[in-house]
């Protein structure tokens, strides 16, 4: 199959089109706007629905409405816009309908800037909206994965009646790489038995997230949780590099993951036995895989473009039993491989400890640098 040379944002858009997305709703925000722009001509050209909404608030509710019909539906945004969508995400989770969202993260908090960051991790992975629910979250680290995981996101969303988020940052959204696009999937013609699409010759249906009776809400929440256990059992994905003989490991996802790969290769060239674990599903998190791998390790380094949000999940996975250090650049700053290499050297040099918190030691190191 011929390779296309595409910008992350546009590759995701085309991948969604080929996965059979019937409707896209969005609102312009850098650094994801190319996705909206691409859809604005591509969707009408195929006779599919596209609306540039008045806000992300309206966007997510257009998504909500369209998804209630059983069609494949998506939106995309970047951090501040995603915050505005959180109300709707909670409703969608509570209504148990499939939706695909793309968050192209940028520097924050607040209006922040438009540079790449990974500061939405907690929002997307650990909540964001109110109430008890989980999103499936896929974190690509190159354009090919962005394509593949967008297609996968639709399948997982439908399989688990869940919000599935493709979580990336401005770097991957804006960069171009070769990728292979999947063939065009036929549009969905069979719809699930919950789909609201007109009660023709059948009992009426309704979709809602309201449950005034706490006992009934509890039943719903248990159902969501049971389904989540299925997701945890079946869908955890991650990628390992140079881990066979590794005594040390870097854990990093998305852009941080690929930047760390460069650093790990450079460290290997210096003879340091270090590998890389790159979570692909950051939710569900590869907890067991990291715990298992950590048993053979003398030390770990978590690298993020946030102040250590995934770090807490790694520490929970190793139950703080493995000496761990943290390195992050924040606010839209992107780490260079050199910086990560320096951190790997520092980790190996020691002292290796499970005392204290890696974030505190990182803050001390950063205080000397900035």
């Amino acid at each position: 199959m011929a390779r296309e040379f595409m910008k992350g944002n546009e590759a995701i858009a085309e991948a969604a089109v080929r996965a059979g997305v019937a409707a896209y709703f969005g609102y312009p925000i850098t650094p994801q706007t190319e996705l909206l722009e691409y859809m604005s001509h591509r969707m009408p050209e195929l006779g599919r629905a596209f609306v540039q909404a008045e806000s992300e608030l309206a966007t997510i509710n257009m998504v909500y409405g369209a998804a209630c019909t059983g069609q494949r539906v998506m939106s995309s945004s970047s951090s501040p816009g995603v915050s505005l969508m959180m109300e709707g995400v909670s409703y969608i989770a509570g209504t148990e309908i499939p939706v695909v969202l793309v968050d192209v993260m940028r520097g924050g908090p607040g209006l922040g800037n438009i540079a790449p960051a990974q500061g939405d991790y907690n929002q997307i992975v650990h909540g964001g909206g109110h109430g008890d629910y989980h999103n499936i979250v896929l974190a690509p680290s190159n354009v090919q994965e962005a394509v593949d995981f967008t297609v996968l996101a639709f399948d997982l969303a439908e399989k688990y009646r869940s919000v599935t988020v493709v979580l990336l940052d401005g770097m991957l959204g804006q960069m171009m790489e070769p990728c292979e696009l999947p063939p065009m999937k036929p549009m969905k013609t069979e719809f699930e038995d919950w789909a609201v699409n007109g009660a023709k010759g059948r009992e009426r249906r309704f979709l809602t997230s309201i449950n005034l009776d706490p006992a009934a809400q509890e039943v719903t929440n248990f159902r969501l949780l049971n389904r989540w256990q299925q997701v945890e059992a079946n869908e955890i994905r991650y990628k390992k590099y140079f881990m066979e003989d590794a005594r040390f490991a870097v854990v990093a996802y998305g852009s941080s993951g690929r930047i760390s790969l460069s650093a790990v290769r450079a460290a290997r060239a210096e003879g340091i036995p270090v590998g890389l674990i790159r979570p692909i599903t950051v939710s569900p998190f590869p907890t067991a895989a990291i715990r298992e791998a950590s048993k053979d390790l003398q030390g770990m380094l978590v690298v993020e473009m946030s102040s250590g949000q995934m770090l807490e999940d790694v520490l929970a996975a190793t139950r703080h039993n493995v000496p761990t250090e943290f390195f992050g650049r924040i606010g839209g700053m992107v780490p260079y491989p050199d910086e990560v290499l320096e951190e790997i050297r520092g980790l190996v040099k020691g002292p290796l400890t499970t005392e204290g918190h890696p974030r505190e030691r990182w803050l001390k190191r950063m205080a000397e640098r900035i």
């Binding site: 019937a22 409707a23 709703f25 629905a49 609306v51 909404a53 008045e54 806000s55 608030l57 309206a58 966007t59 509710n61 257009m62 998504v63 909500y64 409405g65 369209a66 998804a67 209630c68 019909t69 069609q71 539906v73 109300e87 709707g88 409703y91 209504t95 609201v196 699409n197 007109g198 009660a199 023709k200 010759g201 009426r204 249906r205 309704f206 979709l207 809602t208 997230s209 309201i210």
Partner: protein, 260 residues
Amino acid sequence: MTTMQTENETLVYARPESLTNVSTHYCPGCTHGIAHRLIAEVIDEMGIRERMIGVASVGCSVFAYNYFNFDFVQAPHGRAPAMATGVKRVLPDKMVITYQGDGDMASIGMAEIVHAATRGENITVFFINNTNYGMTGGQMAPTTLPGQKTTSSIHGRDVETQGYPIRAAELLSQLDGSSYVVRRSLNDPKNVRLAKKAIRVALEVQARGLGFSMIEFLSICPTNWGMTPEASKKWLEEKMIPYYPLGDYKVHPAVAQIKI
């Protein structure tokens, strides 16, 4: 026990098929029931029940989907027009309605209703104006009249600090995207008949793909107003109608052609 003799009698009144066979949770005297019934009757008359998709809002009518006997979704507060947009865009052949109160549509959902109207979304909005937030117990709404007492304007709405009421029909009629925007009242039989006629027109507008339609219904809320239903109707006539004049605010020329 007596057996009812129906032979040789004509059935003149029955529950519309578009209403479910349950009692509503609405307060005695509330006009939500009238609005529900009128909408259901028109849907039956048009034979479109199986094509209907309703969007319920947040407020007293949050459970509207329990009463209408067709497919329904339930929107977050204020977002019904956005949700309806989503439904309609993927199912353009279905009939999509929202049913919203004044807090929902004219306050928290003002952006969504204005933009749905300005896009000319081919949906129908039923807007219940009873000058207060009913479900939460009678707080000031964007439609509360100047001087009107509510639980969050206990000395009467002071326009100096709390602003003026919003006339939703007039406002939406100003948008080029809207095709049919009218205000009706549910206070007496004549107005109820006119309201039903407007519902028919609004749904015909959508069925013919003519764009955005909205009916504002002046409604009473005896419980939160602290009045009997009779006194409430009188208050509606004397206070609401002068502030919210009944009439057709936007009738697109193509809509004016509709004969029913």
